[in-house]
Each structure stands twice: as structure tokens, then as C-alpha cells.
């Protein structure tokens, strides 16, 4: 599974990292690290919840 954070939409609400800190890393400004990231094994459900929680719709999940 992979998650992709669209930097143009992300505005740093940090809901993703609050629910799945091992999936969504933050940069030094407090925004989700942009681009595609592999989801560590066992983190699929937190990854999905983190994506759902984003109020900007900045995260897409692909299998």
C-alpha cells in the first residue's frame, strides 16, 4: 500500500500524523512530507484513517 500527499492541497492540519504517526511524517514547518510513501506493514488501517481525516482531501491511498 502507498499513500500520496499532494503538497499543493496540504495545509498542515496534521490530522493524518495525529492518527498515523508512523505513516505520515511532518516536515520542519509541520506539513505532511509530500510525495508517495510506502505504508509500513501493519499500518494499513491507520494509513487509511489518516487519509480520511484530512480536511483538505490532500491524501490518496493506492494498493
Amino acid at each position: 500500500m502507498r499513500v500520496t500527499v499532494d503538497r499543493d492541497r496540504c495545509s498542515g492540519h496534521v490530522r493524518c500524523a495525529a492518527l498515523a504517526p508512523q505513516v505520515y511524517r511532518l516536515d520542519e514547518e509541520g506539513y505532511a512530507a509530500a510525495g508517495a510513501h510506502p505504508v509500513p506493514p501493519g499500518q494499513e488501517r491507520p494509513a487509511e484513517r489518516g487519509a480520511l481525516a484530512c480536511p483538505e482531501g490532500a491524501i490518496s491511498v493506492s494498493r
Binding site: S11, V14, E29, G30, Y31, R49, L52, A53, P55
Partner: protein, 422 residues
Amino acid sequence: MSVDPSVDTGAGAPPSIEFDHYSPQYRDNWQQIADENLARCPVARSGTYGGFWLVSDYASVSRVIRDDATFTSTHNMDDPSDPRQGIVIPPNPMLQVPMEFDPPLYNVYRRMLNPYFSPPAARALEPFVRQAVDALLDKVCATGRMDLVLDLGNPVPALATMKLVGLPLDDWERFAEPMHGIVSHPAGGPEYLRCMNALQELGNALGALVPGLREREADGLLSGLAKATVNDQPLSDGEVVLIALLVMQGGVDTTTALLANTLWWLEEHPEQRQRLIEEPALLEHATEEFLRIFTPVPALARTVTEDVVVGGQQMCAGDRVLMSFSAANRDPEVFDDPAEARLDRFPNPHASFGLGIHRCIGSNFARSWFQIMLRGVLDRMPDYAIDRDATRRNESIGIINGFFNMPATFTPSEPRGVPMPE
């Protein structure tokens, strides 16, 4: 306040309402008014304050707030005939830097400020905030009575903000008092103007500190701003002051309002209060739900830069637009049973911190301060009972939906011997 049936809402003419976000009727009935507007006229024209569009539904609010090219935040202080008058209706007499800026300049300021407000920055302040909460509750716990707003909700965010900015903690009331006056009284009224003047004087006092801070090392945002550059130029003394004042205005009162509304509601719903005490993990989702249902900052404005259709209504360049976050947060298209507070609601994409590039920069601090204060009360005075007759809401909720005071009684307990933080 409600839809005026005598106005032609037929072909062509937009639905017309008389909406006054500073009125006592709005303060006392904002949920009902929001629900009615959502159902009947999600994008409506109001004749008050020189005329503006009131946007209530979630889709339209997020459309407006995310399109900062068509809906500008710019505030032209030099020319009142310029329709671009910033993010408050009626316009704020002081420029809000960088909240009333647009890209690309805005982004440079925001990137410079972001590290001070990141999740690690909020975590680093938590020991200070915990100590402040413990020390303040120590002062009242043995008496069995306290004012939840005046003894806790006001001082904690104000002290934390003073610490963040790098100002002497003892001065917190000097700053918090006029800021509270500005957001709790109708804009332009006598109390509001008195407080604006007081704030301007405090701004002058801050300005006098800036030249020294350009040379000398010191903690806090003010010192950082004094040394910061934007596009390779140092900020002017005036800009340093305006940014610091904006952060302080954002920091005080907002989180206070969230706490006060939450404590009021939890007292009305004892089974939910018990649930939060027993399941502390619930606080993560519950915080989002309290933000949604109380919407401490109910609405902010933009100005249309080119003709555009929103929610089926034709807006024209120069029109002012008020985005009702509190109505968007009750939109049944997005939230099931929106009138109901569900502590485990998920997902919860509320608009209480705004959306898009101006997303509240203080949101990491706000969540942290709120949770520490609420835990403090639920832990040390879990049976608090509010004296509802003696409680006063803000005179107006146009800027902040909060309370002036909230006296309460509870079973007394022993102080923990925690001193105020330095």
C-alpha cells in the same frame, strides 16, 4: 434575521436576508439561524454593513476559502474606497499581518512563521502549560469555587502566548484585557474602540523593544521576528509588532472560548462528562467535535476579485463575502446528525480552523492547550457545577463565540504545591 418573505427571491434576484453577526439575536440563536440559512439560502445576500454575501454551506465555504485568487484576504488600509477590506466585516482598524496578505508574498511570511507553530513546538511548550494549569488550579482547589473562564480559561492561553512571543508573563492581563474587549463587543462600539486604542498603545510598547532585540539573543517569537528576513529584507519594526499582535490576538480568547463552551456542554451532559473522564483516549476525537459544534471563530471574510458564480449565485468583483464556518460545520451534506455532538465522530473535516493556505497557524497549540486545561478540570474538579444565572456570554459573537465568565463550585481538594511557571 431570517429570510424576509417580502423580498423577491424569484427569478434572478438572490435570496436576501438581514444578517447581523454582532446582534444579540444571532448570539442567542446562531444554530437555528445557521440551520435555516443552510436549508433555505446557503448563499444569500445580506444588506447589513454595506452589503455582503453570506456563504453557509460547506461546499461553498470550502470553494471560497480555497480559491485565494478569486477571494482575496488583502486589506487596503490606505484607501477605504478599495473594496478589498480584509477578513473582518466591518473591517478591522489594524492590519492583520500576514493574515490579510495573499500569495505570493503571503507564503514567504507563512513559511517564516510555520516552524514556531509546528507540532514539536507545541509539544515543547506542554510542560509550561501543564504547570500553569496546575498552579492556577492550586489557587482555587481548596476553596471549592472558581471561575472557569477568569481563573483558568483566560490566563492559560494568555500566559502560553506571552511565553511563545517572549514577553514578561506578569504582563499577561495588560494584553489579554483589551484583546478580550475587542472580540466580545460589537465592532465599532465604544468599548471596542477603547480597547483598540489600548492595543495600539501596547503595540507601541512592543515596537520600542524591537531595535534592542535585533542585536541581542533572546527567546521567543518577537526576538525571532526582529532578526527575520522576508525576501532578503529585515521586517520593519511596524511589521514585527503587527505579526506579534496578531499571534497574541489569535492565541488569547479562541481557546478560552472552546474550553468554556465545552465545560458548559459537559455539565449539561453528565453521562458524556463521565465518559470523557473514564476514557481519556476519547479526547483526541472529542476535541475535533467540540471544535466543530462550538466553532469558536464563527465566520471570516474575503473580497471577490473577479465575477464568479458560487452556489448558483452571481458574485461580482468587489463584493464582500462572509464565510460562516459555524454553518458549514452543521451542513447535513457533510455531517450526519450535525446538531448532535458525538464525541467519537469520524471523519470530522470541520472548518473551525479555516481551510486552505490560511489554516489557523496556532491549531497545534490550540488543541494542546485545550486538552491540558480540560484534563486539569476533569481530573481535579470532576463534579464542577456551573452557576448558570451568574454566567455571562460575550455581548456579541461576531468574532468569537465565547463567555465573559463562568462561576462554578466543586468538592474541595488539597493543593498540589505547584508554583506558577517562570
